[in-house]
Every structure is written in structure tokens, then in C-alpha cells.
Symmetry: C2
Subunit: 339 residues, 2 copies
Amino acid sequence: MKIIIDAMGGDNAPEQIVVGALQSAKEFGVQIVLVGRGEEILASMRKNGWDTLPDGVEIAHADDVVEMHDDPAQVIHQHRNSSMVLGLRMLSQGEGDAFISAGNTGALLTAATLVVKRIRGIRRAALAPVIPLGNSSILVDAGANVACTGEFLLQFGCMGSLYAEYALKKKNPRVGLLNNGTEESKGDDLRKEAYELLKAAHEKGNINFIGNIEAREAVGGDVDVIVADGFSGNIFLKGIEGTAKYMSKELTGIFKRNIISKLGALCCMKGIKNLKSKMDYRNIGGSMIIGISKPVIKAHGSSDALGTRGAIRQAINAVNCGFCEAIKEHVSDMTLPKE
Amino acid sequence: MKIIIDAMGGDNAPEQIVVGALQSAKEFGVQIVLVGRGEEILASMRKNGWDTLPDGVEIAHADDVVEMHDDPAQVIHQHRNSSMVLGLRMLSQGEGDAFISAGNTGALLTAATLVVKRIRGIRRAALAPVIPLGNSSILVDAGANVACTGEFLLQFGCMGSLYAEYALKKKNPRVGLLNNGTEESKGDDLRKEAYELLKAAHEKGNINFIGNIEAREAVGGDVDVIVADGFSGNIFLKGIEGTAKYMSKELTGIFKRNIISKLGALCCMKGIKNLKSKMDYRNIGGSMIIGISKPVIKAHGSSDALGTRGAIRQAINAVNCGFCEAIKEHVSDMTLPKE
């Protein structure tokens, strides 16, 4: 298996990406292609004790880099020789099995759609991160599509269900529609349309649709796949992140208050470490870009070596489990007849 | 000052509502009208050691009760003699200064709009809870209006700003538009329209609009008024509640792990209690229903005596600070010319 990695994307590129990739190549026994400025990649390697490229690791040189402020719509034209676009082209041409970037999310979404292409019949690609609270549910869409139709949400639910089944090994995953109440009549017109479509898919036996779910319960693990438009999904995800960050900061303050509280923290250290580790994005991996014909992963923008490792492990799992093929196989179940 | 209370609304009615009301009447020195089934109210009083009605407390008998499953649109017709509708009618007729109910939220919103009426020029009433994290920002709308126009959001921002200034004593409150990114171009058509209107209000000096704000930062206290449509506002609020609940549960587990961790918890008890108290809705009060011509408060559905007390304190503050009058005075600043 060969994983293609954008060595230039993210806050800690290229050094941390390179280190994470090289360590993972050895740990997981996979081939790695580092795409980016050859000199900078080699310098990062040397700085961290690698004098030569290890077996199974190659560099694909790309002069240009997509920056965070670049307009996603322009990237494949104005930055055709960037590490991101070149890496996606390599994936598209079969020179690797999955692609990872920690760079500009919008650019990655657009470029993946234009270069690697969506699965035939899939209307929109979506960002699908795992929510680490509760029982590790998957959220589709977390921000790729601010304006959605009922059919998009149907497809998010069906694709999310296949991802949960294949990649997260969940049996008969529970699909819930993120809504402002649990009753069937709740929500705006989009939610009502999506509800009907998801219910019909459930009745045909294609998914296990459990109905509407409120944000409070969606956090707690009462669901495996959370279906949302990209706007409210983004607010849901970032609200969780903000709350977790706020509470962690408050707790740190409580523990550091005085010598007694520091002692207290010491007594609970193991449990605190477990919780921290469970909520650490670096152990979870990135967000799958779901609906693209091959596995493309958006790694966290602040990925370090450990975060890069998490994304690589996720990519390996995505390739092995074959969820892209599963979506291709079931795409007729999630497509509405054209009017 | 006289506060009218729906004694029959919420999970713990009437007993906890009655106890909270009677205790608060004494503590805050206000008059209270308990609206509901007289016999049940008297029984709750006797059970808790009151043999007679204290000075300044009266009962307004109402036979009927609005239930959680009642259709909001039908309530003022089908339940015209309910404690909720009677209480609102009393408020409307000047027989009290504010109304509190812990009952059916949708019914309260609709009945308040139909009985007490919106302030002239205000298009929609909105639910405006205080988010207790960070610096106690106010969220408008938290779920009353799933479908909004740009003008609604403009009004939510302006009304929220006045509430923050008058009731929460914030100077020049920062108004942010909840969005999936901070750049001006972010969001769907509704967000783009609202952004322009809020920016224009800022330029006229009516509000202090700080632009778009992401959910992560909105939690942390970088803003005083969070403007949202009721759908995404509801998801934002409940996502925060769910995350806080999840983390509290995990922490309890950590502390209760073994004898050592229990000792650790003991060492940090003061800080933990402070955080718990800060995040306890009972100390914060309910959600103001903003845009109605007199103060109407939706108390938490699970309000106990302490929660009732919090809502009463909030009602007293709302009456004293005069924010309803302030909205009336400034309504021309937040109304678009009719086409």
C-alpha cells in the first residue's frame, strides 16, 4: 500500500509531517510518497536524524504550495504544481492508494472533487470527522456544503453509514438527523424533506435511520452517524470543540490552584490522561472527505508528527476496509431519479 | 413589583415552583402571583410548612394546564383557561410586571406573542438564554424561529445588544454573527444578508458588530451577543450542554475511580464546586423571550425551587433594567423599510 502525503500542508509543515510520515512508514510497514519541496523535505529529515530516504519512502517534488488564504476555486488553475494538486493527481492516476493533507480545507475539497472526482451519482463530497465523545460517532457534513438539498443529506446519511460499518466496524450503524427536536415534524423544510428520504431508505433496508436527534443526545453517543448540512454541522462540531477546550482550561486552573489541588490532580492523573488521550484529535485522525472515488483525508491543520501518524493510520484503514468501493456499489440506493 | 408565575409548568410543578416562589417572595421582597390549580398549590404549600399564604403572595386559580405535547398553535384556543394563558393575560392587562413559566416552550412563545404581543415593529420573538461559559454571552435565537430572514437576524442582534447592555450591564456589547468562518464572505445567503444589515447598523452607531464568529470562539467569551437563526442556535446551545454534561460525567468517573482518586477530588473540591455552580442553569435563570412587549421568561423545564428562584431574580432584573422599553425606543433602528 502506498500513501501520498502533502508534506507542505498545515501549521507544522514540512518538518512534523515528514517526521510523522517516516516514523509511520516503519511502524505500519507502508510505502509513503512525500509531495513538496524536495530541499525542505530533505532538510527536515536531516534535522531529525535521517541522512537518506528510508526504504519505501519517496519524494515527489512540487515547487508550489497552497496557502491558507488561497481561493479554493482557483487552486487547481493557479497552483497546478502545488504539493496538494500534484498529490491528488498522483492518487487519481493510481500512483498511490490514499492522499492526506493538513492544508487549506476548502482547497482540498475542491481540488479532490476536480482532480480525483466524486463517485458517479454522488452529488457532493462532504467532510466526515469522528466525534470522539460517547461512542465515536461520525458527523457528515462538518462544513463542506453550507447549502444542501434533501438528496445531499440522504447521501450523507447513506455514505456515513457505510463508513461507520466498514471503517469503524459498527454493526447496523444508527443514522440520526441532527435537528432541533426529536418529533418527525421538527425543523425547517430541508430537515422535513431529508427526514422523508432517510425514512424511505430505512424502509427499503438500506440504512438504520433512527429519526431526528438533538445536539445534546448526538454528543452523548446515542447515534453512530450524525447527518447535518455543512453549516449547522460546522457549528455543532466547533461548539463541542470550544466547550471541551473551555472546560479543560478551567480544570487546569482548578488543579493548579494551590499545592493541595496539585496533589489532588496527581491522584487522578491516570484517569485525566485517559480522557485527554480519548479527546486528542491526534489519536483520532483527520476528517475523511467522503464521496470522493478514492480515500482523501483532511488532517488537522495543527498536525504534528503524532497527528500525521493518526491520519496515516486512518488512511491505511480506509484503503483496507474498502468503503469507497462499498459506496460505489450502493450508490443507486442513495440517488433520486432525475426529474 | 409583582411577578406572575405559572405554578403548573415544568417537570417539578407545582411543588418545586411553589416552594421557590414563596422563598423568593421573602428573599427579594417582591409580590408573587401563583397561577394554577388552587388546591394543588395549597397542598404543595402545606407539605412544605406554609399553612397560610404569606403576605404579598396570591393564587390565581386556573383549572387547565398546558402539557408538553400540546400543539403550540392551538394552546390559546384549546387551553384558554390554562395557567400559562391566564398568567399571560394577567401580564398583558397590567396585573403584574413579568411572567415566568417552565412549561412547553413552543406554547409559551406562541401564547406570549398572541396574548402579550410583540413590540411594534419587531418581526419575531426569540429565545435568548445566557451561555454561562467564558463571559456569559447571550444567544439570540436559541430555537424559536427555524426559518429566518436577514431582518430577523438584524433584530436579534440589536435586541440582544440592548439586553446585554441593560440587563447584563455590559458596556458597548460585542455582537457577533454565528457562522462557519470569520471571513465576510462566509456562510449561506442568509448569513451574507444578515452580515450586511448588521454591518450597516454598526456603521450607523446602533450596535458594536464585530463580524462573523465561529462556534469555537463564541463559546470561549470572545463575544457578548451571539446572533443565530433558531435552528443553528439550538444546535449550538444543545451541543454545548451535551459536551458539558459528557465531560462532567467522565470527570465524576475519574474522581470515583478508587480511594486515591477520591482523595484527589477532595483536594480540588472548592474549584470543582465553583465551576459546577457557574455552569448550573439554576444560578443563571431561564431564557428571556425577547421581542415581547413585557418581560416573559422561559424557565428550565426541570426547574426546582432553586431554578425557580433564579428565574424570579432574572425577572426582577428584567423589570428593573427596563430593556423592553429600551427596545421600544430603538425599534426604528432595527426595522427595514417595507418594500
